[in-house]
């Protein structure tokens, strides 16, 4: 079972906080990988919020292909961050890790954000396609104000490897996953968190309904619904599909992935709508054990459980800083000075929602809507 550490704060902080929290939960990850997604960037990216940031890994060959591709498509490099790699035993270094801010092509400057987002996702997917077979290019995200780092190895060692303990990017929302590999091979694209057009999620379970969900998403006609090297990537795409594509309020994500029984739904005021969405979105109902942590473009963070609450998850903190962790010890490590009696262990009907800037925590109950 993977370990998850998400922190949302009104101040910039280092991803080392997440990594140290993962360290306390170490017995739950096997060092098969670390995934980090940073949103609302600080440090050297604080003034670059309008520019899309591409995060990824390239071989020597890959980076020249990438440069040529980006040039050809009119993207102008604005800023580059590369980690200062420190050789660490157990971590095999690849050629080039990067987070690069680009300026949009000239003819896109006056286009709507929606058109820009379409360009960004198509660019990411094309680069992924070019570099996937020989692993010369990995692109994890290409979106304004978001950086993603992924590598195989122990989280703490990787923190050291990337030099995150000394300097590096900071952010107000950071999601981290310490990976327990349950796929058949360790593959970077299978590492959480997953990100698509401002929506991000990570989970600590198994999605037994993976194939029908994947088939449903892939047949929506949206190019971004692809990949699925991990069954958990579907959770991110369901979030994107529900909230962005269908325009449903965030709480309906819970109603889509774990719909209520008819007798329970009858207690809700919006029962008629619930009945319809349960039918129409039947293939997106998840099964199997899962706790999902996610964020949306406005910086709202949330945690939900599968319909039986088969995985752990806890939310706690103080005003201005909250952590969403898979285990209590992770929370203790990150925010020890908090009122523990106010820790929230969401149960099967709950959705814990933390407003942007970690302003307040709300527990939404599915039964009451």
């Amino acid at each position: 079972m993977c370990r998850l550490a998400a922190i949302t704060s009104n101040k910039y902080f280092s991803p080392m906080e997440n990594i140290l929290a993962l360290e306390t939960m170490k017995e739950g990850h096997d060092g098969s990988g670390l995934g980090l997604t940073l949103k609302d960037l600080g440090g050297e990216f604080e003034d670059l919020k309008a520019y899309p940031v591409m995060s990824g890994i390239c071989s020597k060959k890959g980076i020249s292909i990438l440069d040529e591709f980006m040039d050809k498509h009119g993207f102008k490099l604005q800023h580059v961050w590369t980690p200062k790699i420190k050789k660490v035993k157990g971590v095999t270094s690849r050629d080039y890790y990067f987070a690069r801010a680009y300026n949009y092509p000239e003819h896109y400057k006056n286009k709507s954000m929606q058109e820009k987002e379409e360009l960004l996702i198509n660019t990411r997917l094309e680069l992924r396609k070019i570099g996937e077979s020989d692993e010369s290019i990995f692109v994890f995200s290409f979106y304004p104000d978001v950086i993603t780092l992924k590598e195989v190895g122990d989280p703490l060692q990787l923190g050291e490897f990337f030099g995150l303990d000394k300097n590096g990017p900071k952010a107000k929302i950071i999601f981290a996953q310490g990976r327990q590999n349950t796929n058949y091979q360790i593959y970077l694209y299978a590492c959480h968190p997953f990100f698509i057009q401002g929506y991000c999620s990570m989970t600590n379970g198994e999605n037994t309904a993976f194939v029908p969900i994947r088939e449903f998403l892939m047949s929506r006609g949206f190019p971004g619904y692809t990949g699925y090297n991990s069954d958990s990537e579907t959770f991110t795409h369901i979030l994107h599909y529900t909230v962005r594509h269908l325009g449903f309020p965030l709480t309906y994500y819970k109603d889509v992935i774990t719909p209520l029984k008819p007798s329970e739904a009858d207690m809700r005021k919006d029962r008629e709508a619930l009945k319809l969405i349960k039918q129409s979105l039947r293939p997106l109902c998840i099964d199997g054990p899962n706790m999902v942590i996610g964020f949306t473009p406005d910086g709202t963070c949330f945690m939900v459980q599968d319909s039986k609450k088969l995985r752990p998850g806890v939310v706690g903190g103080v005003k201005g800083k909250y952590a969403l962790m898979s285990e209590e010890c992770g929370l203790d490590s990150d925010i020890p000075k908090r009122d523990k009696t106010k820790d929230i262990f969401p149960m099967k009907y709950d959705m814990v929602i933390i407003s942007p800037q970690a302003e307040e925590v709300m527990v939404w109950n599915q039964l009451h809507g």
Binding site: L246, Y252, E272, A273, L276, I277, R282, C285, G288, K308
Partner: protein, 553 residues
């Protein structure tokens, strides 16, 4: 001179030509005559034989030849009275003195064409081989990385949807105070959808089935819904329904079928204004797996008073439904119109869907229906489906196996993104070997939303003798020895409708438990695993490739 053929019996068949050879034991038989009386085809008869014996008795025994007449039970060497192997004789024999035995070397089909009339029979395809459905295994077991669910403790919902489902983008929803509400002013048609148990009883008419059999099924279905909370639905078959049932509150558990003969529809239309409930759905029969491209047939001997009155026809006439609906000249127009007419009759409150026989062209039908917003589902009946009467050649050689037919259709829907919009109902050979839940689950994982059963429920609930060795299969003759497919009161009084109902309930309750025992270890509990093809494997590479599932050996 006497012809040699009379002397050497040359034109007489030997017992070895017959599909079943009756083993009769002289030493155990007490000559009660029960077996010869019950035999539905008079394949055995009491007769007298002269036996020669040599006896030696007395103080100085000298062999003496004696002749005496003995009563025996003899199998008739007339192919028109062949033993069907039903075993009714064995059932009634008090001394276990008689039993039919299958003869694998038989030449039955060589002779069943007397008068130029090909063999007609009931039952299903005579192929005892293990079917594709029975070769499918569930190999994705939740182990350690994710906990298997507990079929006894965890909450399960084994339900499916019958009816056209709108794509999420087209739902008439709007946001009001942060909540989704149905936009009543949108004018958008929301098709009717029923939540049902994924195994349904397929179309068997009240003429093909005897009154106690049909009644037993109907009572069982009502009990399952009303008492057990298991929403099992049953299709009427062609031939209408008892008027009292049409006007009762139980109509909601029935799918009314309309087929090319339109039998019974006069009564149904007249009952419409008096209906308290809508039916579960309307099935338009365009084809049947057992006799693809062939019409329905109820032989004259089964058209007795009750049947004649329900169907609105005279007694004792052959009731043949044409192979196709006479108004049907194109799918895009006539079929669409029929679906709309039926929908309109119930104010668009009832799902209406067509049933076709398994065919290579099923995808063409499907793609057309996928574009018809009123088509509520597509039911595909594979080659192993059963029937009450058909030509043997139709049953044995015509049609398409359900597994690949269904899979192709499902994957076609996936390509179009409509896999959740048009439910597929699969039938034809489900539980041929008795594995109801396993076959149903396999079809669901290949993409079916529901499955239909027919022959199996006759076997499970009313002890039908029929099997794939052509045992019994007398459904067409009206001489069903179990009283299941006959209109002869002397025969159907053998069947107790209460017991049939009880067995229907037991069968479905057991299937419900077994489905959970399949889904739980695969980590599925909240929604039916429709299209969860990664859960399935088969031990044949070509089949695995064809079905786009795993190969495991």
């Amino acid at each position: 001179m006497e012809p040699a053929s009379r002397l050497d019996h040359n034109h007489q068949l030997s017992l070895r030509e017959f599909p079943y050879i009756v083993r009769w034991r002289d030493d155990r038989c007490k000559r009660c005559g029960k077996c010869t009386a019950i035999c539905p085809v008079k394949a055995i008869e009491p007769t007298v034989q002269v036996q020669r014996a040599i006896e030696s008795a007395g103080i100085t025994p000298a062999p003496v030849t004696t002749r005496k007449a003995v009563h025996i039970v003899e199998q008739v060497l007339d192919m028109e009275r062949y033993c069907t192997g039903c075993g009714s004789c064995t059932l009634v024999c008090p001394n276990e003195a008689i039993e039919p035995e299958y003869n694998p070397q038989h030449k039955f089909y060589h002779y069943k064409n007397k008068g130029g009339e090909p063999l007609k029979r009931g039952g299903r395809r005579n192929d005892p081989a293990v079917s594709t459905l029975d070769r499918l295994k569930f190999t994705r077991i939740s182990m350690l990385t994710d906990p298997a669910l507990d079929a006894g403790r965890h909450e399960f919902r084994v339900r499916t949807l019958l009816g056209r489902i709108l794509p999420p983008e087209e739902l008439p929803l709007k946001i009001k105070n942060g909540k989704l509400v149905v936009d009543k002013d949108s004018g958008k048609f929301v098709p009717p959808v029923r939540e049902i148990f994924p195994i349904m009883i397929g179309s068997m008419s009240i003429g093909a089935l005897s009154p106690p059999m049909w009644e037993g099924l109907a009572m069982g279905v009502a009990y399952l819904n009303e008492v057990e909370g298991l929403p099992v639905v049953m299709c009427s078959g062609e031939g209408g329904m008892p008027p009292r049932l049409l006007k009762s509150k139980y109509l909601k558990y029935f799918i009314i079928q309309i087929a090319s003969g339109y039998f019974g529809w006069d009564e149904i239309i007249h009952a419409l204004p008096h209906m308290k409930e809508d039916p579960a759905a309307i099935e338009i029969k365009y084809g049947q797996g057992a006799k693809p491209g062939d019409g329905g047939l109820l032989m004259a001997q089964k058209v007795l008073k009750l049947i004649a009155s329900i169907r609105g026809v005279p007694q004792f006439v052959d009731l043949a439904s044409p192979p196709t609906h006479q108004t049907k000249y194109s799918i895009e127009e006539a079929v669409a119109k029929m679906i709309q007419s039926m929908s309109m009759a119930w104010g668009f409150r009832v799902p209406v869907y067509p049933k076709i026989s398994g065919t290579k062209t099923a995808r063409a039908v499907l793609n057309n229906l996928a574009r018809n917003p009123y088509a509520a589902a597509l039911s595909i009946d594979g080659e192993d489906g059963g029937t009450g009467a058909a030509y043997n050649v139709s049953m044995d050689k015509m049609g398409h196996p359900i597994a690949s037919n269904l899979r192709d259709c499902y994957l076609d829907l996936v390509k179009q993104g409509k896999q959740n919009e048009l439910p597929l109902i699969a039938a034809g050979g489900v539980a041929k070997k008795g594995n109801l839940a396993a076959n149903a689950a396999a079809l669901i994982m290949l993409g079916a939303s529901a499955v239909s059963i027919g022959k199996y429920i006759m076997q499970a609930a009313a002890d039908c003798f029929g099997d794939e060795y052509n045992r019994c299969n007398l459904c067409n003759t009206g001489k069903c020895p179990r009283g299941i497919t006959t209109q002869d009161p002397k025969l159907y009084r053998r069947l107790d409708s209460d017991r049939v109902a009880e067995r229907v309930v037991e069968t479905f309750k057991a299937a419900d438990v077994e489905l959970k025992k399949i889904f739980a270890p695969m980590g599925r509990s909240t929604e039916l695993p429709i299209g969860m093809s990664d859960g399935l494997s088969i031990d044949d590479k070509a089949m695995a490739k064809r079905l786009d599932i795993n190969y495991a050996c």
